[in-house]
Subunit: 408 residues, 2 copies
C-alpha cells in the first residue's frame, strides 16, 4: 500500500483468510494491524494485518495502469485524471510541490515581497508572441480588449517603485501553435525585479542563487523521487550534477556568441549573423562549445529586443543590457535585462513604436522617482525538465494545455 507521501510502499502481510476478491491493484483499502520490523532487507517495517477493508474497489480490467509495469510517459499522458497514481508522475508532483515551496522560501528569505501580478491584462503589445483573448458571450466585459498575461514583468516594475525587491510566481500564457516538447500554452514563470540595480551581474547572481538554492532543497527533500528520474527517465548522458562543479557557468556576449557560431565547422539551418535571433540549434552549439555548462549570453542587439530593455548606448553594433541563460538539453531557461529607467530614452523609443499613449502609465513610473532596476524570469517547467532530465514539458505539469489539447 502507498499513501502518496513517498515512493516507498508499505508491505502488508496478511493471512489468506483475509483475502477478498475486491482486493485488487488500484483499490483503496483500510488496513488495521501491527507495524513490525521486517525480516526483509529491502524494507524497514511491514504491517501484519488483522483486518483489511476495501474502501473503494478498482475495476482492474478497465484501469489503464497495470501492476508492476513501468508505463512510458507517453502512455500515461493519455489519462490526465489517473496518471498521478503512476509512480513517475507521483514523484514528479512531489518534486514540483517541494520546488515551488523552495522558490517561495528563497525569495522570502532574501527580503522579496511576493506580488500576485494579474492574469487578465489590457496590455497587448509586449511582443511576446500570440495572445489569448478573453470574451464573455461576445461582449467586452472590461470595456477594453483583455488578454491572458504573457509576463508579470511590467506589473512587477510598478511594484519596484515601492519595494526594493519583488517577485511573482504564477501562470503565464502563449497561444503558440507549436507542438514542441518545449512549449505549453499555459506554463509557470518565476519572475523577480530588483531596484537600485545597475549591472547585469546582479541579475545573473540572483538567477544563479535561485537555481542553486532551489535545487539543493529539492535534492535534499526528495532524494528518492529525483533518483527515479535520473535512473529510469533521463538519458544517461543527461544526468548532470546540477549543484556541483558542472554547474559552474560561463558568460559570453551576444557578439562573441555569433563569432563562435560563425567559426563553427557545423552547418546550421539558420546562418548565424549579427542582428538575428539565436535559434535552438545555435543555443545547443553554444552550450556544447562551452563544455555542456550553463551559459549566460549578454548584450543583445537593440533592434531584437522589447522597448523596456536598457540601451547600452554602444555602436556601431547597438545593444541593450539583456541576458539569457542557456542550459544543456533545454536551451533558454531564464531571460532578463536591465530596464530603461531614463525617461527621455524610453519616451522616444515608445514614440517611434507608436506606443507612447498606451504606455503613459509606464512612462509615469520614470517621471516619479525612477530608479535603475532590472529583473528576470525563469520558466518553472523548463527548470524541472532540466534538473530531472525530462524530455517533454507535458510531463512536468499536472494538466498540460497546448494547441489542440485541453483535457479536463
Amino acid at each position: 500500500i502507498n499513501d502518496g507521501s513517498s515512493l516507498e510502499n508499505l508491505q502488508v502481510v496478511a493471512d489468506p483468510s483475509l483475502e477478498n476478491r475486491d482486493l485488487t491493484f488500484g483499490s483503496a483499502v483500510e488496513v488495521q494491524g501491527k507495524l513490525v520490523k521486517s525480516p526483509h532487507k529491502m524494507q524497514n517495517m511491514e504491517l501484519k494485518a488483522e483486518t483489511i477493508r476495501v474502501v473503494g474497489p478498482c475495476d482492474t480490467w478497465s484501469f489503464p495502469l497495470k501492476m508492476k509495469e513501468r508505463h512510458p510517459l507517453e502512455y500515461v499522458r493519455q489519462f490526465p485524471h489517473l496518471r498521478c497514481r503512476n509512480n513517475t508522475l507521483g514523484s514528479l508532483l512531489r518534486i514540483r510541490s517541494e520546488a515551488t515551496a523552495a522558490i517561495h522560501s528563497f525569495f522570502q528569505d532574501n527580503g522579496y515581497v511576493h506580488i500576485h501580478t494579474p492574469i487578465i491584462t489590457s496590455n497587448d503589445c509586449e511582443g511576446a508572441g500570440e495572445l489569448f483573448q478573453i470574451e464573455v458571450k461576445n461582449t467586452h466585459f472590461f470595456n477594453v480588449p483583455a488578454f491572458l498575461t504573457v509576463s508579470g514583468q511590467l506589473h512587477l516594475e510598478v511594484m519596484s517603485g515601492a519595494f526594493t525587491h519583488v517577485f511573482t510566481f504564477g501562470p503565464t500564457f502563449r497561444a503558440e501553435n507549436s507542438q514542441s516538447r518545449r512549449h505549453l500554452a499555459e506554463f509557470y514563470m518565476v519572475e523577480a525585479e530588483l531596484s537600485f540595480t545597475e549591472s547585469l551581474q546582479d541579475i545573473m547572481q540572483v538567477m544563479e542563487d535561485l537555481f542553486k538554492t532551489a535545487t539543493s532543497t529539492v535534492l535534499s527533500k526528495c532524494p528518492r523521487d529525483v533518483e527515479l528520474f535520473h535512473k529510469y527517465i533521463a538519458p544517461a548522458q543527461k544526468v548532470i550534477n546540477v549543484t556541483g562543479k558542472s554547474c559552474n557557468s560561463v558568460i559570453i556576449s551576444y557578439s562573441e556568441a555569433v563569432e563562435i557560431l560563425r567559426q563553427a565547422s557545423q552547418t546550421f539551418t539558420f546562418k548565424p549573423e549579427w542582428g538575428c535571433d539565436l535559434q535552438t540549434e545555435h543555443e545547443k552549439y553554444l552550450v556544447k562549445h562551452c563544455g555542456e555548462v550553463p551559459v549566460f549570453v549578454i548584450n543583445y542587439p537593440y533592434d531584437l529586443k522589447p522597448f523596456y530593455m536598457r540601451d547600452n548606448e554602444d555602436g556601431p553594433q547597438h545593444t541593450v543590457a539583456a541576458v539569457d541563460l542557456l542550459v544543456p538539453g533545454i536551451g533558454e531557461l531564464c531571460g532578463g535585462s536591465l530596464r530603461e529607467e531614463r525617461l527621455p530614452f524610453l519616451e522616444s523609443r515608445l514614440q517611434r513604436l507608436g506606443l507612447a499613449d498606451a504606455y503613459q502609465w509606464y512612462l509615469d513610473l520614470r517621471k516619479f522617482g525612477s530608479v535603475p532596476h532590472g529583473g528576470f524570469g525563469m520558466g518553472f517547467e523548463r527548470y524541472l525538465q532540466y534538473i530531472l532530465g525530462v524530455d517533454n514539458i507535458k510531463d512536468v505539469i499536472p494538466f498540460p494545455r497546448f494547441s489542440h489539447s485541453c483535457l479536463l
Copy 2:
C-alpha cells in the same frame, strides 16, 4: 526615506548645504552618511547625511500622492501604477505577501502536496456563475471551447486519488456583472482536498486551523502594518480579535438557520424559506444572532448544491454534506463539502443533469479506488478584508479586475 521594507521611515538629518531642488517628495535618493542614535523619542536611529544624490527626481506637481496626506483608498485606487507607494497600500502588500507565505507553510507543514491546478479548462458546467471564454483570433485553439477556471476543486479531486492531502492557491475567475464591494472578476482562492475523510467536522477543523495559523503568523510578522488598518481604515466596531476568544465559532445546520431567520423580528427583502439560498441579509443576521462570531452553516438542501456534493440520504428535507463559513462583516469566507464518492449516486445524478458523458473522467475517479473525501475553498481577498477590516475588495489586491475595469 523609506525602502518599502516597513512602515517606518528613516529620518535623514542633513546640512542645508546639501540641499538640492530635485530633493522633493516622491524622488528616489542615494544617501551616504553615519547611522546614529536619534535624540528623538519617536525613532531609534537617524542618518546623518554626508552626501545626498537624487537618483530619480519626482515632478511633485503632477505626482498624485502628496506629502503627509492620508489619501482615501478610493482616491489612490485611480492610480493603480502608483498607489503601491502609498503607506496603506504598501502595508497591504506586505501583509498579503506574508499571508501568502503563511498559507503555503501551513499546508506544507501538514503534509499537503501543492498542485498547480489549471487556469484554462474545458469544464464549463460547474454552475458557478458566468464564465470567461478564451479565444485566439476567433479560432478554437484547443479544438474545444475553453474557459477560465472558477475553481480548482475537480482537478484537486483527481490528485486526491494519489495523495492523502493536496492544496492549491491561485487565481480564479467569475464574469459576474457586479459592482459589489465583495466581488472581483479575478481573485485568489486557497483550496484543499482531503482523502479518507468521512465527516464535515474534519473539513471545518482544517478551515479553522488554516485561519488561525495564517492570522497569527501575519500578526506576528507585520504588527505595525496590521495596526495601521485597525487604527485608520477599519471602522472601530469592526476591529475584532481574530485569533482570540471572539473567534470561537458556532455550528448550525441550514435548517436551524432558516428557523432562526423565520423567527426573527426583522423583515427581510427575501423571505427566508427552506430550499432557498441564504442571501447577504440573512447571512448578516445569522452572524449577529450568534454574537458576531464565525458561523459554520452545514447540510444544505440537495437541490441547491452542485452535483459533486455528498448526499446525506435524509428526508423529507433532502440535504447534502455542505458547509459554508460565514464571518462578521464579510459573509461567506469559506465553502466546502464532502464529495459524493459512491459511483451509483454520482452516476444517476450526472445522468439526470445530462452531464454523464462530459464527466466520464470524473466518474472514473469513483470507478478506480474511490475513497471518501472532501475539501473546501477560502477566498483569499475576503480573508484579507476580514482580518484587516477593509470594506472594499478592490483595496486588498494589487491590480483589481472587475466589470468595466481592467487597468494596466
